[in-house]
Symmetry: C2
């Protein structure tokens, strides 16, 4: 079983008194130590306009991490295609792939946060179309050895050749977060690796993995378990009291995520991550919270169902936690 990290740094506004860079510096040190400890990857979230300093330029932070690491895979989870010019994005991502020596894992999405749609003035009803058109441009930009022209509904590019080419051929692995049966099949049919979310219960993860694997194998391809990464919150606790507090803290966080993601009236895309009640039940059935032996038991259950790759959302964000997991959990799954 392999383990990566899922998350990001944070910055804060607030004038000269506050050091807005500390969160980024801490995160970089944390990732450097994770590489030394044998973690396989880091996937960065990307969000805009939150007001609490989530990473907005994930490909820039990944470029910095590319210079500070040598082995870890460097992922986005996810770049929302409808916000970006697909050609500039293809150039930027290929540059990260080049500078990292071919370590980019390119996770993409359609977007789900109403404040981001509103902020960028993108209509939620256009998200699917923008996503598909952007994807077509990016794949062509990465693989075409000849100049090409794209005249689409949302984007036009004329007589272009996109440089640099990515190192990984035909292009970096692309990842998609999916949850519905249709979405899972679409991901499999369109050569996406699969990100499974941090909130779904262990049983639901199993169900989704099976749908995706069946779709891959049903089309005659070989299923590679490293092409499915399951995000899981991690909080190793040392007492029953600490365990209880960790669950309550987790439930509050899920409520916060849920509020940010409330779908506006009139519909629009909805995150597959958010189709759960943000209750204590969700944290009991979805998170890796507890003493090492409880976490090992949960991971073994996931592994029995075919999960071989877990992205940890380390709730404490501490290097101590990275070491504890490596020392007390990883060996049992080796």
């Amino acid at each position: 079983m392999k383990f990566g990290l899922f998350g990001g740094a944070s910055s804060r506004r607030g004038g000269v008194a506050r050091d807005s860079t500390q969160g980024y510096r801490d995160f970089i040190g944390y990732v450097e130590e994770a590489e030394e400890l044998g973690y396989h990857s880091v996937f960065l979230v990307e969000h805009h306009f939150t007001g609490f300093g989530q990473v907005s330029a994930s490909l820039n932070l990944l470029t910095y991490l590319a210079a500070r690491t040598t082995r870890m895979r460097l992922g986005t989870a996810v770049v929302v295609l409808p916000w970006h010019n697909p050609v500039l994005l293809a150039e930027q991502a290929a540059t990260v792939d080049l500078l990292s020596g071919g370590r980019l894992e390119f996770g993409v999405g359609k977007g789900y946060r109403p404040n981001e749609f509103n902020g960028f003035n993108v209509q939620p009803a256009d998200a699917q179309e923008l996503f598909e058109e952007s994807l077509e441009v990016i794949r062509r930009a990465w693989t075409s050895e000849e100049r090409f022209t794209h005249i689409g509904k949302h984007w036009t590019f004329q007589d272009i050749v996109v440089e640099p080419p990515p190192i990984q051929r035909p292009h970096p692995p692309m990842w998609l977060a999916a949850g519905s049966a249709g979405g899972l099949k679409w991901a499999a049919d369109n050569d996406f690796n699969l990100l499974l979310d941090q909130i779904a219960s262990f049983d639901l993860i199993q169900e989704r993995l099976d749908i995706y694997r069946d779709a891959i194998e049903g089309s005659g391809r070989t299923f590679d378990p490293m092409n499915v990464a399951v995000a899981r919150a991690l909080h190793i606790t040392h007492s029953e009291e600490e365990r209880e507090q960790a669950h309550q803290q987790r439930a509050r966080l899920l409520s916060g995520i849920s509020r940010l993601s409330k779908v506006r009236e009139g519909g629009g895309p909805q995150s597959t991550m958010l189709q759960y009640n943000d209750t204590r039940l969700a944290t009991e059935e979805g998170a890796l919270i507890g003493p090492p032996e409880e976490i090992i038991e949960r991971l073994q259950r996931m592994r029995a169902g075919g999960v071989e790759y877990v992205l940890l959302i380390d709730i404490t964000g501490s290097r101590e936690s990275l070491r504890l997991f490596r020392d007390e959990v990883m060996p049992a799954l080796a």
Copy 2:
């Protein structure tokens, strides 16, 4: 007098046989050595769709250099605003500023290459308007502590706060390439530092510097000579024959740049860099080509006219050349 580097890496397509990353790796090592040798800055060009591998994602390469250097200033020369979403660009540039510890020098332009306008499907006639609107959004994104809404002709953003904030306050220094009297005055009046191009003769550089300085001082501000950077081609030669070859090579390169920049019929923006004949005269009157004593003499002449900051376009691109300039030219200007 201070000296920076002006240029970039290159990559090439061409299948598995060719190592498309070598040019980037060489360039990174070259910049690392330049920092050790006491060079003050590196400014990267950014171009798209050339087919010969010019850097397209300059802010990503600068992010990588931010991790590999500790002191050098990191500049763009230039990011063409009409190609970019101004909010994404503000986020990316602020992230470079944060990760570099406040070392970003943000050079911007309106664009001048017809193949880039055509490639991005931007009308040359809109370039000035796009430039001005984008600039307004970027400055506001960097300085507003409150959420804001921008409803412009080309861009709409609603209820946004842009994160992370840059470290440098109110924002990173902004640079503009200008050449005409109107452009020079506009740069001075709008708080831009000034990039003077690599092709103009020494006399013309002097004339432009004077116009810019007069505009700064005329508005009651103090002129800082480090706010004007003059790009100059550098080729240190060891014999008359080598000197002659270097001039011929330079003249051929200028012809190439000129071809890429030919203005389409019907007009549109024109680079101030390109209002010269690409003749031997231009290279004699504009470049630092020759033995160290000739280069020192030219630099002393520029310094006498108020130039204190020169960005070297090192034609050989060799580390040997970096060392030679440091050892045989810099001491005379110290």
